[in-house]
């Protein structure tokens, strides 16, 4: 009887532990991906300022656009 009553408690505890573990893993994974994101964002930022990237907007100059 005691063993049967103990089983749900044990499963509940195990579920809580594995849930917490999962949350910790998700948090750590997110933290890692945030660092990668910031590196990617900085790379995109610098790339967007490169002369090649500016060729279509800045170097096209004002002559190409119609003016009023």
């Amino acid at each position: 009887m005691t063993a049967v009553a103990f089983l749900p408690v044990m499963f509940t505890v195990l579920a809580c532990i594995s849930g917490s573990l999962l949350l910790v893993l998700v948090y750590l994974d997110n933290r890692n991906s945030r660092i990668d994101d910031s590196i990617d964002a900085f790379r995109r930022h610098i790339d967007a300022l490169s002369p090649e990237s500016r060729r279509n907007s800045v170097l096209r100059g004002p002559e190409d656009g119609p003016r009023r």
Binding site: R44, I46, A48, P62, R67, R68
Partner: protein, 336 residues
């Protein structure tokens, strides 16, 4: 679907860049309104011709002074008109980037964004003028080298050191080419007893104004109103007189450039000697200004090939690459 816009809302001129099309509008930041009915009578070049020549019921005004909004309602109406003229309607609400002076206060910042949103923009972001100017002048700001840009506008002069896509040092003063015009007006009033308008003062600056003595020093006849008799009068001004008259605002601009140089880290300072400083903005076109800055700072100065358009072209590049460059906008979390 509205095309997104970049606007250089300058004290002197307003330029609009449309995504995928380039500069679509370039005209003076002036609006003429009927004081009685509140109706807009003219904008841009037409309104500019009215300054100082209007009957009492018409006000032809520049709604921005020193890069800041002095009249919120009129500025909002001017932005609304600009947006309408480039095809924005109540059903097409574009994202808009506005170039503003870096020294703008929080209240002024909110005034510009509110005016732009109320005028029909779905989103309004601000970018510092020197940063936009550096992008527009095509400086290699993506590299880890010191790029120095001096932007002399109608109401503000800003100097920035930029490296790796960000501002390293910045110095701004609320002195610009309108202060140079005002200095000429004050000099003629004080020394010759003649009152002249701001457009006449600007014409003198363009004709014979200079920051350094040069081989092309000339004289000019100017017409105004004698302060004693009240009658029209012509006086002759020399280039030397004008140089003396404008020395105070010119010296203030040069001093701000020196302060910015002194703020720059030593590693970048050596880059300036090799690469020089870049001058943009209409005020930078004053004769002899580049050579005076060069003489006083001992750093070479180069004029941008498109001094009037550099800022809006830079902002236009940001609207073309909105997601990648959104970290540059004022108030944004850098590199989200």
């Amino acid at each position: 679907m509205a095309r997104d816009l970049a606007i250089d809302l300058g004290t002197a001129n307003t330029l609009v860049y449309m995504k995928g099309r380039g500069i679509v509008l370039n005209e003076p930041s002036v609006i003429a309104v009927n004081r009685k009915s509140g109706e807009v009578l003219a904008t841009g070049g037409d309104a500019l011709d009215m300054i100082g020549r209007t009957p009492s019921y018409i006000a032809a005004v520049r709604p921005l002074r020193g890069g800041a909004i002095t009249d919120f309602d009129i500025t909002e109406r001017m932005i609304r008109l600009l947006l309408q003229r480039v095809g924005v309607s109540r059903f097409t609400r574009p994202k808009v980037i506005i170039c503003v002076p870096s020294a703008i206060t929080e209240v002024e910042r909110r005034a510009v964004t509110d005016a732009t949103r109320r005028a029909g923009a779905s989103d309004a972001q601000l970018i510092e003028q020197p940063m936009a100017a550096a992008i527009g002048a095509n400086l290699p700001i993506d590299e880890p080298v010191g790029n120095m840009v001096i932007d002399i506008g109608g109401g503000t002069s800003e100097t920035a050191v930029i490296s790796l896509g960000g501002v390293v040092a910045l110095e701004a003063v609320r002195v610009g080419s309108f202060d140079i015009d005002a200095a000429i007006q004050n000099y003629v009033r004080r020394e010759h007893g003649v009152a002249i308008g701001e457009r006449t003062a600007e014409a003198i600056k363009i004709q014979i104004g200079s920051a350094e003595p040069g081989p092309q020093d000339r004289e000019a006849d100017i017409r105004g109103r004698d302060l004693v008799t009240g009658l029209p009068k012509t006086v002759r001004l020399t280039a030397e007189e004008v140089r003396f008259a404008i020395d105070e605002p010119v010296a203030a601009i040069v001093a701000s450039v020196k302060r910015c140089l002194s703020k720059a880290p030593p590693e970048l300072a050596q880059d300036f000697l090799a690469r020089g400083m870049f001058l943009v903005g209409g005020g930078g076109m004053l004769r002899g200004l580049a050579s005076r800055i060069e003489r006083e700072t001992e750093v070479p100065v180069r004029m941008s090939p498109q001094p009037l358009e550099a800022v809006v072209l830079g902002a236009g590049h940001c609207i073309e690459n909105y997601q990648a460059l959104r970290g540059m906008f004022m108030g944004a979390n850098r590199l989200r």
